[in-house]
Symmetry: C2
Subunit: 219 residues, 2 copies
C-alpha cells in the first residue's frame, strides 16, 4: 500500500502519533478545493500557539490565494529548480527529474511564514547568547501548522526553491522581516505513506538508533 | 484554574488539538522520576519522523542523565542568566527575578539536539538558495519531540541561556556540528494552563488576528 485516504471531518480527534505518522511533504496530491475559513483559522491558531523564545511570537502568516501571485512565485521557483538541476551530476539529475518539487498553484492556499527579529524588543528572554533562537521559534510554529493541517485531513508542502528577496518583493514584506517558508496547504486526494524522495530513490531514511547518543557524542 | 493534571498512560490517544493546547515550556514542575526507555524511544521516534529539507534528517539527539554533566551545564546557565539579568532595566529585573528559567537538574533527562550541515552531502534538495533550511528542519524535529512529550503526559522546557561552544565541549560534540537546544524532559506534577512568562507579567500573548495578513503584507 502506498497511499492512505484523507482523514475527513472527524480528524480533530485523530491521536497524536497517528498525525505524526501520516504527515507528508505534499507536492502532487493537491485537489485545489477551497479551504473553509474556520479550518484555516484553526490551523493558523495551532501555529500561533507554538512556543517562542521569551514569548516573542516573532512570526507572521501571509495567506496567498491570488492566482496571479502564485503563478509569479511558481515561475521564480521553476527557474531556481532548473539552476539546482544543472548543478547535479548526471545520474542524480535523472533521479531528480522524477520528483515534483512544488504544488504552488494546485494547492488550496499558500501560507508564507515570516520572522521579525525586532519582535519582543531589545531584551528577549533567552535570546542573548544565541541570536537564532527567534528563527528557531518560527520553525516551531511551522511544525504546529504542518501537523494541524495533517490532523484536519489536509496536505502541506514546504517550498524552499526561492530567493528570499524575490518573495519579500512579491508580497511587500518589509526589509527587516525574513520570509522563512512558502507553505502549500490544501485538500488532497490522499497522502502517500512513503516520502516522495524515498519513493523516487533520491535518499533513504536514517535509522533512529544512529541519531541517538548517550551522555556524550558517540565518535 | 491555573493547572491541569498530567495526562497519564492513556495519553497516546489524546486528540491532536488537546496536545497543542496543553503544551507548555516547563521549568518548575518536574518531579525527576525516571523516564522508561520505551517512552524515551517513542518521543525521539516522533522527533525523527519530522520532515527535513531534501530528507537530510540533519539532527542528532544526545540523551544526558549524568548528574555531573547536568550540574556543570546548570552552573554555566546560571552565569549566563545573571549576565542577562544585569543587562535589564531595573523594573524588568524585578519581573525577571520571579521567573525560573530552567529545570536542568530536576527534569528526568536532558536531550541535546544538534544540527549537522554536512548531512545529505553537497546537493541537498531544496537547500541551494537558503543555507538555513537544514537548521529549520532540526527545529521541526524539536517541535515533534515537544508535542510527543506532551502527549505522553510529560513536560518539556527549552533552555537557551548557554554558549554553544560550552555545550559542544561539555558533550564532546565535533566542531562542525551545532548544538541547537538543551531540552529538559520528564515527568511533571502538572502543566500550567497559562505560560510562565505571562503569569509572571513578563509579556502578553499577541492576538492571532494581528499575525494574519491577506495576499500581501499589511502595512
Amino acid at each position: 500500500m502506498t497511499a492512505v485516504p484523507a482523514m475527513g471531518p472527524t480528524t480533530g480527534q485523530a491521536s497524536f502519533y497517528e498525525v505524526i505518522e501520516r504527515r507528508r511533504d505534499v507536492r502532487a496530491e493537491f485537489t485545489g478545493e477551497r479551504l473553509p475559513d474556520d479550518v484555516l483559522t484553526r490551523i493558523l491558531g495551532a501555529a500561533h500557539r507554538a512556543p517562542s523564545v521569551g514569548m516573542s511570537q516573532p512570526w507572521d502568516f501571509v495567506v496567498v490565494e491570488s492566482d496571479e501571485t502564485r503563478q509569479a512565485f511558481r515561475d521564480h521557483v521553476t527557474l531556481e529548480r532548473d539552476l539546482f538541476r544543472d548543478s547535479l551530476p548526471s545520474e542524480r539529475r535523472e533521479t531528480f527529474d522524477r520528483i515534483k518539487i512544488e504544488g504552488i498553484c494546485e494547492s488550496s492556499v499558500g501560507i508564507v511564514v515570516t520572522y521579525d527579529e525586532t519582535r519582543g524588543g531589545q531584551h528577549v528572554l533567552g535570546r542573548h547568547t544565541i541570536a537564532d533562537t527567534g528563527l528557531y521559534s518560527t520553525c516551531l510554529a511551522i511544525q504546529n501548522l504542518w501537523l494541524a493541517a495533517t490532523a484536519e485531513g489536509l496536505g502541506m508542502g514546504w517550498v524552499s526553491f526561492y530567493r528570499e528577496d524575490f518573495l519579500r518583493d512579491l508580497l511587500g514584506i518589509p526589509a527587516g522581516i525574513r520570509p522563512i517558508a512558502w507553505l502549500c496547504v490544501g485538500h488532497v486526494s490522499h497522502l502517500e505513506t512513503v516520502p516522495d524522495l524515498e519513493r523516487h530513490g533520491w535518499r533513504s531514511r536514517r535509522p533512529l538508533d544512529e541519531a541517538i547518543h548517550r551522555e556524550r557524542w558517540r565518535a
